[in-house]
């Protein structure tokens, strides 16, 4: 059994008052998308938990996920979360390197077998024996399999770890796959996004810390608290969609009035994420608020899903005829898409449910 102090003991030692702890819990509840009344219950539960060991493995990735987390806008919360967990191995952030660092990882895996949390960012290349990415002489595949054995749960951070991401995009020269493609016997939480929203990463950690369980997941293994609704359903521009007010190009009157970007290729209707409420860059704004459609980065294979400037229900085959410049400007696409999509939108509105990817790609074949 771990001799690590409880979270409450640890924070009290650092001079954090109960009022401050309550504030932390209120912000945590907000972060975890829980009802605000849950804060006292969180304080109670979190106070009694012991600090869990965490091993973070970075595989075939761009470090954007770690950047997102370490550049996040709530340093108080994030640093507290990182005080609360014991981040024992993260080869981008740790000072140690070489044998000593690898031995420490092995020691933590042994000492906290069955208890530690394994965080993975990046996809795992399995073509040609996994030679395309190695750490300390081990392939990513070997390291993942070894570290997963004693993990209580695995958090796949970013679209690469969750779904294969950009490394897996056509033609996938390294044979990149996701964590869930390899590990079949452990609970896996997919925190997708390219990168994921920082507070979504810490929110998942906070949930695990607070309740000692993994949160409720959707069919793609993502926490429903953050990925339960589409960008479209939570978008502040949704009322314009319902009124049929669409921007037809990026500089027309509709765009200036903040109308819906659906016809300019916004992937909001098929993308599940929390950007619309959590926002980015210190809560300043998010893609749609900045006037650009959602790219759908938290969905599987978003890079291969056709143009970012093609409306979601437009068949991919039609895009080639338009030419990239026209599609990017939206001048032609807007008109064509408007006609093409009318019955799909009307149907969805009548049924009062979000469009699914299958419905939208229905006449693709």
């Amino acid at each position: 059994m771990s001799k690590r102090p409880t979270v409450a003991e640890h924070l009290a030692r650092q001079g954090v008052s109960r009022r401050a702890f309550l504030k932390f819990c209120a912000a945590t509840a907000s972060m975890m998308a829980l009802p605000p009344g849950m804060a006292p219950a969180i304080a109670e539960a979190l106070g009694q938990r012991r600090r869990p060991a965490v091993i973070w493995l970075s595989f075939q990735e761009c470090t954007g996920c770690t950047e997102s987390l370490t550049r996040s806008h709530s340093p108080t919360i994030e640093s507290l979360i990182f005080d609360v967990i014991s981040l024992d191995y993260h080869h981008t952030l740790q000072a140690a390197a070489g044998d000593a660092a690898e031995h420490h990882r092995e020691r933590v895996q042994e000492e906290f077998a069955g208890e530690y949390l394994l965080i993975v960012d990046g996809s795992i290349p399995i073509a040609d024996g996994g030679v395309y990415s190695t750490i300390a002489g081990m392939t990513n595949l070997q390291m993942l399999e070894e570290s997963a054995k004693g993990a209580a749960a695995i958090v796949a951070v970013g679209s690469c770890a969750a779904f294969g991401g950009i490394p897996k995009a056509n033609p996938n020269p390294t044979g990149a796959v996701s964590v869930a493609d390899i590990i079949k016997d452990k609970p896996i939480i997919n925190v997708s996004g390219c990168p994921p929203i920082p507070v979504v990463i810490t929110g998942v950690l906070a949930h695990y810390l607070t309740f000692g369980t993994i949160p409720e997941l959707d069919k793609l293994g993502r926490p429903t608290a953050f990925y339960g609704e589409t960008i479209h359903d939570r978008c502040y521009r949704r009322p314009f969609y319902d009124q049929g007010k669409f921007a037809k190009s990026f500089d027309d009157a509709g765009a200036r009035n903040g109308w819906c970007l659906y016809e300019l290729g916004c992937k909001g209707p098929t993308t599940y994420n929390a950007c619309a409420t959590t926002k980015w860059n210190e809560g300043t704004s998010w893609p749609v608020e900045s006037g650009h459609g959602c790219l759908g980065c938290s969905e599987p294979d978003f890079w291969d899903a056709g143009s970012f400037y093609k409306a979601v229900s437009m068949p991919i085959s039609d895009l080639g005829k338009l030419g990239l410049a026209a599609a990017a400007a939206g001048a032609v696409a807007g008109v064509a898409v408007g006609l093409h999509n009318r019955h799909v939108k009307a149907g969805a509105k009548a049924a009062h449910k979000p469009l699914t990817a299958d419905e939208l790609e229905g006449d693709k074949s």
Partner: protein, 139 residues
């Protein structure tokens, strides 16, 4: 290198109308329900403003229609928190900032007094010991 001011972009802030604050009225209705529960059953509740897809216009609408009340308080705990009673007694606008003065959480609390203001019993107990120790030092 060109500066932001060199780029010919004009930022237009939408005027507070129905389009600019599509959710404002619904939130006031929700507050009406919660305030009624506080009056009739003594039940406290709150709205997490960061969990809702609000436009800047919605927040301006709320600030305009709730107004500013009698009490303004600032708490220093893990960065500042501001507590402002609105002109509607019992409805408090609570903002939690981090140490960089960025908003971490924002609530409309419907209560006689927000929890963040009260001293926690365990902290009070600890402080009683602390005060006694200070008295001993004076002897």
């Amino acid at each position: 290198m060109s500066q932001l001011s060199d780029i010919p972009v004009t930022v237009t802030v939408l005027q507070a109308g129905a389009d600019a604050a599509p959710h404002g009225r619904a939130l006031l209705m929700e507050l009406e329900n919660q305030l009624r529960d506080l009056v009739e059953q003594g039940r406290e509740s709150s709205i997490d403003l960061r969990s809702l897809p609000l436009s800047p216009g919605d927040l301006a609408f709320l600030e305009q229609h709730l107004g500013k009340g009698e009490v303004t308080a600032e708490v220093s705990a893990l960065g500042p928190s501001t507590v402002q009673e609105t002109a509607i007694h019992g409805v408090w606008w609570v903002r939690h900032y981090n140490s960089n003065d960025e908003v971490m959480a924002e609530f409309l609390e419907v209560t006689q007094c927000p929890d963040i203001i009260r001293a926690h019993p365990a902290d009070v107990r600890d402080s009683l010991e602390d005060l006694r120790a200070r008295l001993v030092e004076l002897e």
